[in-house]
Amino acid sequence: MSRIILKSKRTTLIIIGVVSFYLIVSASAPAYAMHIMEGFLPPKWAIFWWVVALPFFVLGLRSLTNITQTNPELKLLLALSGAFTFVLSALKMPSVTGSCSHPTGTGLGAVLFGPLAMSVLGSLVLLFQALLLAHGGLTTLGANAFSMAIAGPFAAYWIYNLTMRLSGKQRIAIFLAAALADLLTYVITSIQLALAFPAPIGGFIASFIKFAGIFAITQVPLAISEGLLTVLVWNWLQSYTPQELELLKLIKQESQG
């Protein structure tokens, strides 16, 4: 039985390896990819995304106080989720397009604590980078928070639950949740830019293809890396913190039922 599991794990790893290698060798076009820069969204769109993101942030604060008040012992795990996002969004890694981008690290926290908690943690990371690193920006913070701290975590949460229901394989569910959330973050960024800057010919679609070519393709191998790193941390958590994971599972069952 365990041999079969080991075998299927190995085949998954090999498939991931082959797909990554193919992507790395086949594509090559210079581009950049990161968050939307300060001042690069017209005011009306900047305000729009702020308004969209704020309610999630407020709900997220409520969810965080709820978690820490009812289960103070989970604070450490919460710090870990925040720190994971903090580290990963500082790692600007080279990618297949000959440019650099960084992963988001929001998948782990979203699977552990639910997407709303990550809307706060992710926004804080973005705020830090906007203020101290001139990376992203305050006017574009709403848009960047929506893509990285809201859309990504929600996708991660749904993908995790869906994969668990369909296959029941937890590591694969974690990998897919983290990787696809990372990728989706930059697809949303492309949509946001295409909405603000529709091409004179071809409009939104032409613009979206242009920005997605820049953002999303660069992100593919980074999304895979993020998925693998999240599984790594998950492995540690599973060996050392079975009580906390059990507790989180119970909380989720309560909130769902």
């Binding site: 794990k9 790893l13 390896g17 990554s20 290698f21 790395i24 060798v25 090559s28 210079p30 950049y32 990161m34 820069m37 300060e38 001042g39 690069f40 017209p42 450490l76 795990l77 710090a79 870990l80 925040g82 720190a83 994971f84 580290v87 969004s89 500082a90 790692l91 600007k92 890694m93 080279p94 990618s95 000959g98 440019s99 981008s101 830090f128 980078q129 906007a130 203020l131 101290l132 690193l133 001139a134 920006g137 305050l138 006017t139 800057f197 091409a199 004179p200 820049i214 191998p221 895979i224 890396s225 693998l228 599984v231 790594l232 492995n235 958590l237 060996s239 050392y240 913190t241 079975p242």
Partner: protein, 109 residues
Amino acid sequence: MTNPKSKIPNSKLHNWLLVVAVLTLAIAPLIFVRGGEFAGSDDKAEKAITEVQPGYQPWFKSLFEPPSGEVESLLFSSQAALGAGVIGYVIGLYKGRSQQQNSNNEHSD
């Protein structure tokens, strides 16, 4: 899940494979992508937007910008170091705790 002890050496190997895969993903583009600039800079972003909408001017400037690439890389590495420190602390704490519980269980047996 039911017998964590028998899984430990196996999952250790699994973890190392994950680390190697991530490193490969990061290093391979440097080797295989010829002529890549590996930039992530804002002037490239400007270009992409001004291609679509010529004459767009950013209407807001960052309140603080790192005075040089060196200072920026200092701040970025501090960010990574802080985060990695917290992760190491939390995982270390959990590991110590679970080892203590294991040895307690063994003594009580």
